[in-house]
């Protein structure tokens, strides 16, 4: 038996750490890693509620979140490597072509 708020607090901490990483990091690969942290927090919540309610939907959609995260990392890293090849940098501050 595990108290639900305990799990939710853990995932809230993971999510906040991910938010900090996305906002404070400048290296694009580290930003992607922080996004993974946030996705993990979401999946943990899905599993916790799935087990509390005895409903398999949470676990199925947790699996879908993991699959989407894998696709996101593949595409994200391809874009990062493309940017590095063209501009010799992956600082997200310097990639500002579309910025106003």
């Amino acid at each position: 038996m595990i108290r639900l708020p305990l799990v939710l607090f853990f995932s809230a901490v993971l999510f906040s750490a991910g938010v900090y990483g996305v906002l404070a990091r400048r290296n694009a690969v580290l930003v992607l890693m922080s996004i993974e942290l946030m996705l993990n927090a979401v999946t943990l919540n899905l599993i916790a509620f799935s087990q509390m309610l005895g409903d398999l939907a949470g676990q199925v959609f947790g699996l879908f979140v993991i699959a989407v995260a894998a696709a996101e990392v593949g595409i994200g890293l391809a874009i990062v490597i493309l940017i590095y090849r063209n501009r010799e940098t992956i600082n997200v501050d310097e990639v500002n072509l579309l910025k106003w």
């Binding site: 108290r3 900090y20 990091r25 996101e72």
Partner: protein, 166 residues
């Protein structure tokens, strides 16, 4: 507090410390290794919640595949060492935003669920049950995810291909 809860607290503390070290690490490879620790702790949390199939999927896909992809990404792009060059100027704002989000979430959670009221009694769910659910009730989302993975595969190939022959 039960034994399961003590185990969960321990792995939550380890995961939290690793997550914070991940977003503050000065070396990108160390950050990837901290990511491994955090993801493993989340997988252990799934095991404690008796969701074994998704725990092993987490180990296989995240720790096995995604972290390796990250390491390849770090290998192919030159990253400097040191927090000053890896972080941008708005670190203070980022701390404020992250702490505000954490405080808001903690307030909402303890507001919605009383400490002793909401308990999880983990009933072990077999991989067979999850698979049956995917392929009967959720077969349409499953096909959508398959199509997304195919599109991501083709997209990654197209993006990273050198188009010198065109």
């Amino acid at each position: 507090m039960t034994g399961n809860e003590y185990a969960f607290v321990v792995l939550a503390v380890v995961g939290t410390v690793a997550a914070i070290r991940l977003v503050t690490a000065a070396n990108v490879v160390h950050a990837a290794l901290y990511l491994v620790i955090t993801l493993s702790m989340v997988a252990a949390a799934y095991l404690l919640l008796a969701a074994e199939f998704i725990a092993w999927v987490q180990i296989l896909i995240y720790v096995g595949a995604i972290v390796i992809l990250f390491l390849f990404g770090l290998m192919l792009t030159k990253a400097p060492i040191g927090r000053e060059v890896l972080d941008n100027q708005s670190r203070g704002v980022a701390v404020v935003v992250a702490v505000a989000i954490l405080a808001g979430l903690v307030f909402l959670i303890q507001d919605a669920y009383a400490w002793d009221a909401a308990k999880i009694d983990p009933v072990p769910t077999s991989a067979a049950a999850v698979g049956q659910s995917i392929f009967s009730t959720y077969v349409l989302p499953f096909e959508v995810v398959s199509f997304l993975l195919l599109a991501a595969l083709i997209g990654a190939i197209v993006l990273s291909r050198k188009d010198d022959q065109t």
